[in-house]
Symmetry: C2
Subunit: 357 residues, 2 copies
């Protein structure tokens, strides 16, 4: 049976002119998928009419409302029950689709997805996870902004989920997992990071220790776990500096007629360089920790970007990522249980000692 | 009278072969400075002997010990009282030099400088501040790792110090100051950031509100204030992504004979591009909030980088940055005093109300 992917056709900065042709591209690329486009039916059909496609592989599901990019999550949750985002997620909940892809606003998508699909037992907070290029391939980083002020246990859960995802989608048997920290302080970083460090050393996760911001891109770590604030700062700063570099590179090559001529000559080289670091290739962040698969596309995604988000959804369905996470969480809780009991016992002991002093 | 700059000649990954020639370069570049090289006298004289220079403008101050790059700050403080770093800072304390430049380890430099030179009254925690390139010029970012887990008042002090520095060294009458935050959450960021936001809106600082990581590089803000953890993550991630981009650019141009030929043709353009984003130009971070001027050079600095750190020291002496900060802090405390009293009054009122309920 084909994998059915529910696409929030109205989401993102561009909406239908991006989501519809990208969905049709995905159908061409993968013979094993079906797509349900969710949104205003007449508008979707109008967009579809512009293309040739196999209508048996596309379903249109009407949704009256649209979650706007600046809608508050609480508003999206309460007042937009007929939105394309909500209805796409409902299809996944009702098992009519196996994954949802949306370029809609992140906060709203996370809030509605969490409400509709629920979290995996044992997971407190779902996290946003994306892959990013490195000098040797790519790395999965989470959380990227869903959770601010995580404790050590939440960070450990992120590490676990990132590890499971990487093992599944990259066929990497033992992903190296690092905790994002800084190296300046005598006693490094926040307490939550030290707590997560202590927990991770006690698990079967291939935990390699603390890493710093520049290590993200070196290719010596496969999963970076961090608080959502820190991950967001790392991601956005990286985006910013990459854009600045692209800006100056372009400026240098377009300074005058001669440099423009050089640009023409260098075009194939510059093109091959650009392809390697093209952020569009990495579009499609996973909302990990939910019971079903939800992929968040960048709001500003173009057709090629959005296609990659659909590809990610298909891959996660094929690899059955939520079930793998669920199984691993149960196992991890078993691993940590004796330790926790030991901790409790130690604490009781401490209290006793303190009292007797 | 010449500005005397005390250079920790032994600091950094490379030590004397970088610090000595860079110091001589600085003497050539600026007729108004004198340099005191602090470190093992025989080794310094051996290095100096390799160059032609005006010996009347160089003093060598012997120091037996060296703070190693992996020495703990506490160890540097207690056990290395005869280190080149400590003696260079002592020269500044005793007003025999007006500034100290060191490429030694950051944690040790901060700890020893704070102990020897003390903080400006009203400043709780000195911060590390560096300038970084943007699409329109540059931006000052602080703190970059000296302080983890700052409260709102510390962040406000960083904002103030960054603003004063920028006004002085960039001749910018009203630097735009932003607080680093993330945009994903319904209620954004950490409490400390909200507290700093509330404080900053009540001051005469040209505060423009929250910014995100990518805004650092856009050129629409002159000072970015943040917790040391967040600043370090932003800085290191940016460094990492820039290095990765450089790696792929180089790789694309050196793939085969043809691409190497293209690289030769494109060399002047690539060179002009590289100069614009060259991190060596931005070397020389200020330890702001101390009573005297201390400049931290990157540990891996080369001769050109280290020269820039000396230039920064000279500029801050000429502009008298610590005295400017000191004056502004007094004024700010005046501005906030009535507010604080009002706050206290309000709190007393709340307590009263709570009790009467």
């Amino acid at each position: 049976m084909a994998i059915n992917i529910a696409v929030d056709a109205m989401g993102g900065d561009h909406g239908l002119p991006v989501t519809v042709p990208a969905s049709l591209d995905a159908l061409k690329l993968y013979s094993d998928i079906h797509i349900t486009l969710v949104g205003r039916e007449s508008e979707i059909r109008e967009e579809l009419a512009k293309y040739q496609y196999d209508s048996s592989r596309i379903t249109v599901q009407h949704a009256e409302q649209v979650v706007e990019m600046d809608d508050l999550p609480s508003k999206a949750l309460r007042n937009k029950r007929q939105s394309s985002m909500r209805i796409a997620l409902n299809l996944v909940k009702d098992e009519q689709a196996q994954a949802c892809v949306s370029a809609g606003n992140t906060g709203a998508l996370m809030a509605v997805a969490k409400f509709v699909l629920k979290t995996i037992p044992g997971i407190d907070r779902p996290a946003i996870c994306t892959s990013m290029p490195t000098m040797k391939g790519h790395v999965h980083v989470l959380d990227l902004g869903a959770n601010v002020g995580c404790d050590g246990e939440a960070l450990m859960q992120f590490a676990l989920m990132g590890s499971v995802l990487t093992r599944a989608v990259d066929d990497n048997p033992a992903p190296r997992v690092g905790l994002l920290n800084i190296g300046e302080e005598e006693i490094k970083g926040h307490q939550r990071i030290k707590d997560a460090h202590a927990l991770l050393t006690q698990t079967s996760i291939n935990y390699i220790g603390y890493i710093e911001g520049d290590d993200i891109y070196k290719g010596d770590v496969d999963v970076v776990a961090c608080d959502g604030f820190d991950g967001n700062v790392a991601l956005k700063s990286s985006e910013g500096v990459a854009k600045m570099i692209a800006f100056y590179l372009k400026q240098s090559f377009s300074k005058n007629l001669l440099t423009k001529l050089v640009a023409l000559i260098a075009y194939p080289v510059l093109k091959s360089f650009k392809d390697k670091v093209d952020p569009r290739r990495y579009n499609g962040a996973s909302l990990l920790g939910l019971r079903k698969i939800v992929i968040k596309s960048h709001g500003g995604a173009d057709q090629f970007s959005f296609l990659n988000a659909i590809s990610e959804a298909r891959l996660e369905v094929a690899k059955n990522v939520p079930d793998l996470i669920s199984a691993e969480v149960s196992q991890l809780l078993q691993e940590l249980k004796p330790l926790k009991s030991a901790d409790d016992a130690a604490q009781v002991e401490q209290v006793k000692t303190a009292k007797s002093v």
